[in-house]
């Protein structure tokens, strides 16, 4: 399973890098989907099967599609982006900050005793039934809150996006 980790990680990192660097927006989204699938695979590897499926359902099935539609709706059907300012201050400072963050976080994790001390291993099987029980048991209020939030987001998105139609009437 070591190999699986490395392969999946490589895929995820590749997907992420391509998603934020590619020139064509649609290609970016496709790379992002690759990244999402990589993350889902990681969830499977971590025995969070349910979460992995949810990841695919929501991110690949919904969010990615949403982004694609957003690209189409901004009249950018070919998905081409503007010229890249590779040597601009903005690019370099952003990249530098991100790199610094990566270094700092990596150093912090390496320095952290907790991460090193924890043994790796497979202890028990997660159960979807447990998640289900928790969702309608002690976590029912957050679940409902999320439901309300999603409904609100849905309505909000429709309202924002429909602004033009309303005005034109």
């Amino acid at each position: 399973m070591n190999i699986a980790f490395w392969i999946i990680s490589a895929v995820a990192v590749l997907g992420a890098v391509l998603a934020v660097t590619l020139r064509n927006l649609v290609h970016c989204v496709l790379a992002l989907i690759l990244f999402f699938i990589g993350i889902a695979a990681h969830y499977f590897l971590l025995h969070a099967d349910f979460l992995g499926t949810v990841q695919i359902l929501i991110y690949v099935g919904a969010v990615a599609i949403l982004i694609l539609f957003a690209i189409m709706l901004t009249h950018n059907v070919t998905g081409t982006d503007g010229p890249r300012e590779l040597l601009g201050l903005k690019w370099w400072s952003g990249a530098a900050i991100a790199a610094m963050l990566a270094v700092v976080l990596t150093r912090a994790i390496q320095g952290d005793k907790l991460a090193a001390a924890l043994p790796a291993g497979d202890r028990a099987q997660s159960s979807v039934a447990e998640i289900g029980k928790a969702l309608v048991g002690g976590w029912v209020v957050p679940l409902e809150a999320i439901a309300v939030l999603l409904t609100a987001a849905l309505i909000g998105a429709v309202v924002i996006a429909l602004e033009e139609i309303r005005k034109s009437r």
Binding site: K90, S93, G94, I97, L101, V104, A108
Partner: protein, 678 residues
């Protein structure tokens, strides 16, 4: 039995929850669902009323006062858990029963009053929300929950006063009410913070004795501000909040203006319930007020409460004498009566204060609803000079109004007599000055209510005069007053029953609250004098207004000719609003202007001038001393200053990524610092 009470305390939350759910449902109803909305609102209130009465009956018949509460953790952060809770004790049970009962009938009346309003649904939604907040305030066993509900009732009050927001006066009035009460709330909030700081608990009572009010003897006796004890300091701060909410001088100015709202709102919020919340809160936090004091040596908080109450009672009563708007008279009367309650509390009489609150709620709601009936009956006429003779046209309203007026004037055997008498009696024990002021206020009360009765109901109808057709009513039938429909008069009829009978339960109520019977000195003197001033006030009213009823709307007020300038002064409410306008508001505006000027000229100016001075100096240096001394450092300094200013301005570029970048950098720095430290 105890278990039953505990069970009831656990279910106290249902009382506010039902109207809250109703409000939530109503908020989603379409505008045309008028009957459904009103039905939901009234049903919810009826259910809440049934629950409150159940709790009330369960607490009756106990030898000593019961106090059951139920606390639950709201959320936890770190080791501190914030708890909320509900309480069931006589104070709460009686108050909740009163609020739901009076509220129920006011809602019924409102269906008639608001019948023609296009925003009927919204109105009832707000009413439900208000009821929920008010009941939450009453059943709270937690000062934070109380405060939340306190603010919510304030919000509802704001919404309802400004219900007809298209009227500029209503819009101004709701803002005024909101801001004025907010001034008091600052004190209240500081008091809460202080209480939490000192006791570590926001619950009033807990089973393990760590509630805020259970630590009176221990934590709260330390030194507070101005040489008071902590308890007194907190009590004073809390009382400032109560002053705002209960419209005590000098924060009373919002209440009369609040009459811009629909009349049922005035009855519910600005007579019966919300304004009484301040009194209720003082009653709820009463242990803080009396902590460390005695009958002979009362605390500063008690003195403050006493004199503020007494002054407000007298002050508002004088203003009420010279008002012409039917609702404004009642508004000032409310202020005055609230002053009575507060005064009673300040004199150490928790029972008379709370009892007066209850009786007052009934008869003042009755009076307000009656005035609402009058307003509807006369087609939205509020000026008493243009009324008159309504006894003929609106007999039911007249009788009920008469009962309310007699109760307010303190005539035996109506409710107001008993409660006011007790208030005066308890005040007499403490302070003869306050008692004197209150007695004079009672006289004025009887007088202005008589004046109102005669102006509105006696004589003949003066309303048609504007049109110049006052001889020919039949041809202008729409201008003729008429009796209101049943859904408007039934509530006032029900309330008038209570206005008659409630007074006899004063002794029982004292027992119910757990007070011992004590024989107070001067009972006959106080009682006799109060009866006498009441009778004298009514007599004077009859002499001035009853004997020769005003014939025309434009006739001057009989009192005006006798008092002259003083009457104008009273009519203009002692010029308090003008005074505030001249002083506080002006000063605030001036401050604002000043700060704007400072900001624009001084701060910006300094920044700019530094840049320019440095630049200028360097220019001078460059020009003058070109060959003498080339001061590169100076030049660089100037550039640095300019550059940094430019950079700072650049920071707020409106570009979200720049903010993001700064955020990222900040995170990195924090992380580095954190890991370097550990």
């Amino acid at each position: 039995m105890e278990e039953h009470l505990q069970q009831l305390a656990r279910q106290q939350w249902l009382i506010p929850a039902i109207p809250l759910v109703a409000a939530a449902i109503q908020s989603l109803l379409p505008r045309r669902a008028r009957k459904l909305s009103a039905g939901i609102c009234i049903t919810a209130m009826g259910l809440a009323c049934a629950l409150a009465l159940r709790a009330f009956i369960a607490t009756l018949g106990h030898p000593e006062a019961v106090r059951e509460f139920y606390n639950f953790p709201w959320f936890e952060f770190g080791n501190t858990s914030l708890q909320l809770g509900f309480i069931l004790d006589p104070l709460t049970a009686a108050m909740a029963a009163m609020v739901t009962f009076v509220g129920f009938w006011i809602f019924v009346n409102a269906t008639g009053y608001m019948h023609d309003d296009e925003n009927f649904t919204r109105f009832f939604c707000f009413l439900s929300l208000f009821a929920a907040a008010m009941l939450g305030l009453v059943v709270a066993n937690n000062i934070l929950l109380l405060f939340m509900c306190w603010e919510l009732v304030g919000l509802c009050s704001y919404l309802l006063i400004g219900f007809w927001f298209h009227k500029p006066s209503a819009a101004a009035a709701c803002k005024k009410a909101f801001i004025t009460t907010r001034i008091g709330d600052v004190g209240f909030f500081i008091g809460i913070l202080m209480l939490f700081w000192k006791t570590g608990s926001l619950n009033l009572y807990t089973t393990d004795g760590t509630g805020a009010l259970q630590q009176i003897g221990t934590q709260l006796m330390g030194h507070g501000w101005f040489g008071w004890s902590v308890a007194t300091t907190i009590a004073v701060l809390l009382f400032i909040g109560a002053m705002g909410k209960s419209a005590q001088f000098p924060l009373h100015v919002w209440l009369p203006d609040a009459m811009e709202g629909p009349t049922p709102v005035s009855a519910l919020i600005h007579a019966a319930t919300m304004v009484a919340a301040g009194v209720f809160m003082v009653g709820r936090m009463y242990p803080l007020f009396i902590a460390g004091g005695s009958v002979e040596q009362p605390t500063f908080a008690m003195d403050m409460v006493l004199y503020v109450g007494a002054f407000t009672a007298l002050f508002s009563a004088t203003i009420a004498v010279a008002q012409f708007d039917i609702k404004r008279v009642l508004a000032y009367s409310t202020c005055s009566q609230l002053g009575f309650m507060v005064m009673a509390l300040g004199a150490g009489g928790l029972v008379p204060g709370q009892f007066h609150l209850l009786t007052h709620a009934f008869f003042k709601a009755l009076l307000f609803l009656g005035s609402g009936c009058v307003i509807i009956g006369t087609h939205h006429e509020q000026d008493m000079r243009k009324m008159g003779g309504l006894r003929k046209y609106m007999p039911i309203t007249f009788i009920c109004y008469l009962i309310g007026m007699l109760a307010l004037a303190g005539v035996y055997p109506f409710a107001g007599f008993f409660s006011k008498d007790e208030v005066l009696l308890v005040t007499f024990q403490r302070s003869k000055v306050a008692w004197g002021m209150a007695t004079f206020a009672a006289f004025l009360t009887a007088f202005y209510m008589t004046r109102q009765m005669f102006m509105v109901f006696a004589g003949k109808w003066r309303g048609g005069e504007d049109q110049g057709h006052h001889n020919d009513h039949s041809s202008h039938g729409s201008h003729e007053p008429h009796e209101v429909p049943w859904n408007m008069w039934l509530p006032i009829a029900v309330l008038s029953l209570f206005a008659i009978g409630l007074g006899f339960f004063g002794g029982k109520y004292a027992h119910y609250l757990g007070a011992e019977e004590e024989e107070l000195a001067g009972k006959s003197l106080v009682m006799g004098l109060s009866v006498a001033v009441g009778a004298f006030g009514i007599l004077l009213g009859w002499v001035l207004y009853g004997r020769n009823p005003q014939a025309h709307a434009s006739d001057p007020d009989p009192l005006e000719s006798k008092l002259g300038g003083l009457f104008t002064c009273l009519n203009r409410k002692w010029y308090v609003d003008e005074f505030y306008e001249m002083t506080i508001i002006r000063a605030t505006m001036a401050c604002g202007t000043l700060f704007r000027v400072i900001d624009k000229r001084l701060v910006d100016g300094i920044l700019h001038s530094i840049v320019w001075i440095v630049r200028g100096i360097s220019q001078v240096c460059r020009v003058v001393g070109d060959g003498f001394f080339i001061n590169g450092g100076f030049d660089a300094g100037c550039e640095t200053v300019r550059g940094s200013g430019w950079g700072l301005a650049k920071l707020q570029s409106g570009r979200v990524q720049t903010y993001f970048r700064v955020l990222g950098l900040g995170t990195i720095i924090l992380l580095v610092v954190y890991f370097l430290k550990s």
